[in-house]
Amino acid sequence: MKTRQIAKRKFKKLAAIGGSSLGLATLSLRQPSKAARDNERHRINLMVNGQPYQLEIGNQSGEIGPSDTLAYTLRETLGLTGTKIGCDHGACGACTVLVDGKAILSCMVLTIETDGRSITTVEGLRDPNTGRLDPLQQAFIDHTAFQCGFCTPGILMSAKALLAENPSPTEQEVKEGLSGNYCRCISHYHVLDAVRAVIRQRGVKNDPAV
């Protein structure tokens, strides 16, 4: 248990430094009663990319430590390494995933806080049946909206959340929605082109005149 306690201490310190004023939604810490019951049983339920997981809380391999961040659980416990950890301080957006449709920084959330939630990672963007890429993914390829590609999963998830909340955002709203994502190669211009293309595409599809 000792190592877990240390990690938790570290996590709290980092949370204090990091802040979350990055235009991304934060989670409220409500405790659904079913989750509370499951907690007593030392178990949590997650839906990740449409797949249900029941995970034991504990210190053993494959279990969820009380201080495990969601980013850690996704990557190390569930093997979903598409979600990146760039700073582990909530400052770079590389770890952005959707929790119940909202973009959150998975390095700033403890996995046990997400009990009962539905999580989407970059691996879940693609249609699970047909394998077809999400329009955002396709647009990123079409516009070469990445260089090194390390920040791309986070940017895609921020964009996905933005378009879910606001199907036809203005240019400024898109920039705001992505402003918490660090990209060092400066692929921003092509990212904006790609997101714009998806918005346009949808506009055409939803336009009753078409």
């Binding site: 240390i6 990146k84 993914q137 396709q138 390829i141 070469t144 260089q147 590609g149 060092r184």
Partner: protein
Amino acid sequence: MTRPYRFIGKATPRKDGVEIVTGEAKFIADIKLPKMLFGKVLRSPLPHANIKNIDAGRAKRSDGVRAVLTYQDVPEWKGGMPAHVRILDRKVRFVGDAVALVAAETEEIALEALDGIEVEYEPLPAVYDVKEAMEPNAPQLYTQFPGNVLPNRCPGFGPKSLEEIAMGNVEQGFKEAGIIAEGTYAYENIPNPLTAEPPGAIAAWEGPDHLTVWSSAQNPYWEGVLLYLRMGRKVHVRYIGTHCGGSYGTRLMSWQLILYAALLAQAANRPVKVCYSREEHFAAYGLRLGSRIHGKVGMKKEGTITAISGEWLINTGFYSQITQGQLAVGCGEVQLAVRCPNWDLKPKIVCTNRAASGIVRGFGGQELKSAFLPLLTEAMEKADLDPVEFFKGNYVKPGDGYYWRDGNWWVCRGVDYTKAMEKGAEAFGWKEKWKGWLKPTRVNGAKRIGVGVGVHGNADVGEDVSEAYVRLDPSATATIYSCLAEHGTGQRSSLCKMVAEILQLPLENISMTPPDSLLHPYEIGPFGSRGTYAIGSAIIAAAEEAKKKLFERCAPMLKANPEDLETEDGWVYRREKPEVRIPWRAGMGVDRTLLGYGRFEPDFTVPNFMMLLVEVEVDVETGKVELVDVVSATDVGQIIDPLNLKNQLHGSLGSAGVDSALFEESILDKKSGRLLNINLVDYKWRTFLELPAFRTVTLETPFPTHRFKAIGVGEITTAPGPPAILMAISNAIGRRVYEYPMTPEKILKVLGKTKRGVA
């Protein structure tokens, strides 16, 4: 043959696009080996100290700890130029220097075990300033470098590597000058290129003298060679490249963490992964060089430079990785931008007690120019010269010569970039916006708008050697064997396009082997914008040779001479009678592959070019500077992929480029030796909300010496930026500014709007 290109010049999807957007691309942190341990580094809290005593007993006894190493336990592995840095030493030389290494079953156990290592230090005085470091009583970092001054020679660049710029007669030159500018100028904010991915590596041994490394350098073959040298030529290294989450040159600084992993793996007899935290990436990896020049420029009234002299002090931090190389290339590059017959520029490399500087895009040239151009523009101002006109007159043209990094005199056989400068200036509206030195373009209440310009170029597009194979298979597919990892430029995809064009095969039929030094011929790697020209030429030669072999096999069956044949979409046919054709598999048989080999030999005769024109808006009440408009202008001969190219051009803002004049800096506390802003909140970076308008002007004047008449420009896109920003701010507010970065506080100080110098 004037047939239009099928792939070259067209935007095609990156070969690794699906992997990247689905999260399948494997970066170093995503890779796990069976039985792999995690390594962590205990780092020095002091900037300069001897280790009096070190007791790792408690750490060694911790549950889950499999190896603990201090300087007492490690071999004489050394890096640096000349080799001067032990992998672990009895002495620490900056806050963050490695003191001990731990490998454990989990990262958390390893981190915790670091607390179980007791170190007793004998603190030593530290020095951070280049001038102070050279003073007689200054603290000495290395006994072998008295005065903290390192030799200038770069052995890798040959026996005469460029160590200074010395030519003509500067005394005579200054006599002929009507205008003299003199002073001290510096670019010492040591910004951090800070790739999105923090660096990391995995090491695993196969026997005592064979090491396999997984890491993210873009040039696995050459990195493997360097590791072999650093381990005393006793260990053969197989270097497997992973997806590289950004480099900008810095990934060539991972040798220390790779060797930490190797040492721990050896001690624990299991694979070990060492991934740096973001703090380590900030504080103990690689910064830009500090650059300060005390110089003098002589100029005639009409703008002819008659003499340049001075001392260039380079702060390399606690050691030199390859600062001598950056010195040489920087000295070469400044000659490309400024035509001058009389030079006496004396560089000095000085080590100080801070984190190391290393390879970064701009490679010495950005650092020299960011200090030198403000001096040069003082002369332009005195002569009342338009800087765009000055650069047009001065930038190297075919027939002009320069001393390059090898110390030899090379004569340019590239293209004339005057037209690119003119087109760039036109797109930017330079003529309308330029109102003269220290004059704003517009005043809009408290907002002052000003413009600036910078140029840069590099003759390294043809540096060093590349080798490659291209293998043809009877299924009408081709495989490129070239040892480079994808580091974001899209180079691997662009090289596939070149081969697809030569073999006239669909792009899907061309693939490239994964980067692995065991499988490939020599490749120094993609840097210095050499991907298109040097690597490209090697691969093109290999593809041409393979095609020649294909035609030789098919010729008898088609009753033709090999030189009369063509190929398209897996068919070989007679040029004059295309209906006489056979598929590759008929020509080759099903049990044969054909292999072509290509090699590129260094050639420093083709400099590339980049101009950045910038418009800033300065709020004279708050001091805030906004970058409003950017135009980049270049000539690449032939665009290979327009989107990849644009990405590289936009990249001028990031990776410690343009923004190092606006807000990027590593803040060093000279009392403690600590860097203070080592997180992504306090270190300022450009977000999506602060993008300037960015237009690119790209000319395509054919370069005769490349198969597709193309050269690369990726490496040079950042370098013209910082001095251009200072120029624009100076013009906007009507006063010279010199410091990097020009934060609001400094602007207000220049404007006299602070009380006793405090904002």
